[in-house]
């Protein structure tokens, strides 16, 4: 295998370049719907209804749709709500999942397998199945229309336990042994030794979790009754009236609803890939 065939190698590079271009083209096609909605957000109502359709808006400085959208619905409030809920649930679910992940990966105790299966089963059963009883529970403790109520199903994510356990299993035990001998308590080990080592997994989890919370729909639809407790997704749907759709405004709202997630993704995407790869290597 030491002998190299220059022709073969060249052909391979050609092939790979060709593939690269194909993937670029398809990748661009994946973006078309997003581009289309962004373009639509800058068009006026008559422009939208013009036939044959036009690609580019007459003016990219036409922010009327965004202005009007905020005038018609308290989108600022929706954003605030979504962010609040996402942050509360992110903090809570990360803390809980890191603790449990550590326990599963590095501490010996009885019924470990059983507990892990129990938590995995929560991961398998979608929250939608539990919407009714959870809603009634929230109603009974008076958390309807509150941030805690909105965040409730997201305060804990079984997926996080799974992810962190996978990741932490890959950390050599000697780090923990060394820290124990160095005089660190379990909490301090977790904080000073483990957490810095699982940064990629944390980043992956933060993206996935934030995305999940931000994009929740059924639960906030049920639990946030008043407009001032709507999240962005619910607000977006409320925005499209029953009998009259203002597509220019819906497009603007849709675009805005995606932006925060897009930012987070752009900022953390390197870590997301790394985190997933690293937790993938540990079976």
């Amino acid at each position: 295998m030491i002998i190299s065939f220059p022709d073969k190698k060249k052909r391979r590079i050609y092939k790979e370049n060709f593939l690269y271009i194909i993937m670029m083209i398809f990748g661009f096609l994946m973006l078309v719907p997003l581009i289309w909605v962004v373009l639509t957000a800058f068009k006026t109502e008559p422009e939208i209804a013009k036939l044959p359709i036009t690609w580019l808006p007459e003016s990219f400085l036409n922010f009327d749709n965004f202005v009007q959208m905020f005038a018609e619905q308290p989108f600022g409030r929706y954003f605030f709500n979504s962010i609040t809920v996402a942050v509360i649930s992110l903090i809570s679910s990360t803390a809980i999942a890191v603790l449990a992940g550590y326990a599963f990966a590095k501490i010996e105790f009885k019924f470990k397998e059983f507990f892990f299966l129990l938590i995995l089963s929560v991961f398998m059963i979608p929250a939608e199945v539990m919407v009714l009883p959870k809603y009634l529970m929230m109603a009974q403790i008076g958390w309807v229309n509150s941030y805690l109520g909105l965040a409730f199903p997201d305060l804990f994510t079984a997926f996080g336990v799974y992810l962190f356990r996978q990741f932490m299993s890959g950390i050599p035990d000697t780090y923990i042994d060394a820290a124990r001998i160095d005089g660190a308590s379990e909490i301090k080990i977790l904080w000073h030794v483990i957490l810095p080592l699982i940064k990629p997994a944390l980043a992956a989890f933060i993206i996935i979790k934030f995305m999940f919370s931000w994009n929740q729909f059924l639960w906030p639809l049920v639990i946030g009754q008043k407009q001032d407790m709507f999240t962005v997704t619910v607000g977006l749907v409320a925005f499209s009236g029953q009998w009259y759709n203002q597509w220019n405004l819906i497009a603007a709202a849709t675009v805005l609803s995606i932006i925060p997630m897009l930012l987070i993704f752009v900022l953390l995407q390197k870590h997301l890939v790394q985190g997933l790869v690293m937790s993938g290597t540990k079976g």
Binding site: P172, A178, I181, G183, K188, H192
Partner: protein, 361 residues
């Protein structure tokens, strides 16, 4: 002023007994080496002393105080790991300071101690580097420093040199020895490398299958192995061992195999348990390669006819392999006198240095 004592310590994982009834006393300032092949329970014993594993039964005492149920952090011990376990996300300085920080020491005191240790180990130029940026030897030294900085009662070493190449290992071994002479901290050192054990230890504990085979100074272990196992394990090349029959003729004892017959001097009988030196019994006879010589000087005493099989030049010395009757022996000699394989020659043995073991190979 620290002693460590293990009293009837046992450890089982499920049904598997990895350490059984270990009794051990380590006096203050002593450098004790636990020696044995992997899986012999030496690491587990060390980890029990550290508090990383718990004993299944028996007591571990430091300064005559039972510490079975103390957390590692409360035992005032320090440990150097095989892979060093330096925290990859902390600089050398932070790695050194971590143990002190966990004990809530004042920042200024920490800095002082860290610098002191860094000076001693010549780490001062590396303080801001991360473990990944260090060579193996440097990492090893940081790991040492991390243990030293807390001035613990006991140092525990878990094969700390095994990840290094041969040259570095020798170098660091003597450094370690010097450090110990300087600090005089009670140390327990686990290794499977007999040379390390020999060079470092005040006393060696040879372990097998979770049990102590023999405890003794390196000299005792080498010159007077108590069991066949210890005899085999210590010394390189291995001691020549052969099954032989005991033959009592008058008051003399001979060991025989086919037509070979070796007379046993009184000195050997005196240091051997005579209960198994019964007439007709099968025992193992051992003699170290260094106690065999080529009989070229005309010294006829204890001379055997031998047939050369192989000679290997080791440098100053030569390793020869030859057969006497149908028994194969190895010897380290200063000169092979140009004997080549197939040649017949005579060898002599220092019968005083013969070892006799009850169990057979």
């Amino acid at each position: 002023m620290s002693t460590v004592r293990l009293s009837n310590v046992s450890k089982s994982f499920g049904n598997l007994r990895v350490v059984s009834d270990v009794n051990l006393e380590i006096s203050d300032g002593e450098f004790l080496v636990l020696l044995g092949p992997s899986g012999c329970g030496k690491s587990t014993t060390l980890r029990m002393i550290a508090g990383l594993e718990e004993t299944s039964s028996g007591d571990i005492l430091i300064d005559e105080k039972v510490i079975n149920d103390d957390d590692p952090k409360d035992r005032n011990i320090a440990m150097v790991f095989q892979n060093y376990a330096l925290y990859p996300h902390m600089s050398v300085r932070k790695n050194l300071a971590f143990g002190l920080k966990m004990r809530n020491m004042k920042t200024s005191t920490i800095a002082e101690k860290v610098n002191e240790v860094a000076d001693m180990l010549q780490l001062s130029d590396l303080m801001e580097r991360f473990p990944a940026q260090l060579s193996g030897g440097q990492r090893q030294r940081v790991a040492m420093g991390r243990a030293m900085v807390r001035t613990p009662k006991v140092f525990l070493f878990d094969e700390p040199l095994s990840n290094l190449d041969a040259v570095l290992r020798t170098e660091l071994r003597s450094e370690l020895k010097k450090l110990h002479m300087q600090l005089k901290t009670t140390s327990i050192y686990v290794t499977h490398d007999q040379v390390e054990a020999m060079t470092l230890a005040d006393r060696i504990v040879v372990m097998k299958n979770g049990k102590i085979e023999q405890i003794g100074t390196p000299k005792e272990i080498f010159h007077n192995p108590k069991t066949l196992y210890v005899a085999k394990f210590i010394g390189n090349p291995q001691m020549n061992l052969h099954e032989m029959q005991v033959k009592k003729i008058n008051n003399s004892i001979f060991l025989t195999a086919s037509s070979l017959s070796i007379p046993i001097p009184k000195a050997v009988i005196n240091r051997t348990n005579t209960s198994y030196l019964k007439d007709g019994a099968t025992i193992s006879m051992g003699i170290r390669p260094t106690d065999i010589f080529i009989n070229n000087a005309g010294n006829k005493k204890g001379a055997f006819k031998a047939k050369m099989i192989l000679t290997e030049m080791l440098g100053a010395e030569t390793l020869i392999e030859f057969g006497i009757e149908d028994l194969n022996f190895k010897a380290i000699v200063e000169d092979d006198y140009g004997i080549s394989s197939g040649d017949l020659f005579e060898v002599g043995m220092n019968f005083e240095k013969i070892h006799i073991f009850e169990d057979t190979t």
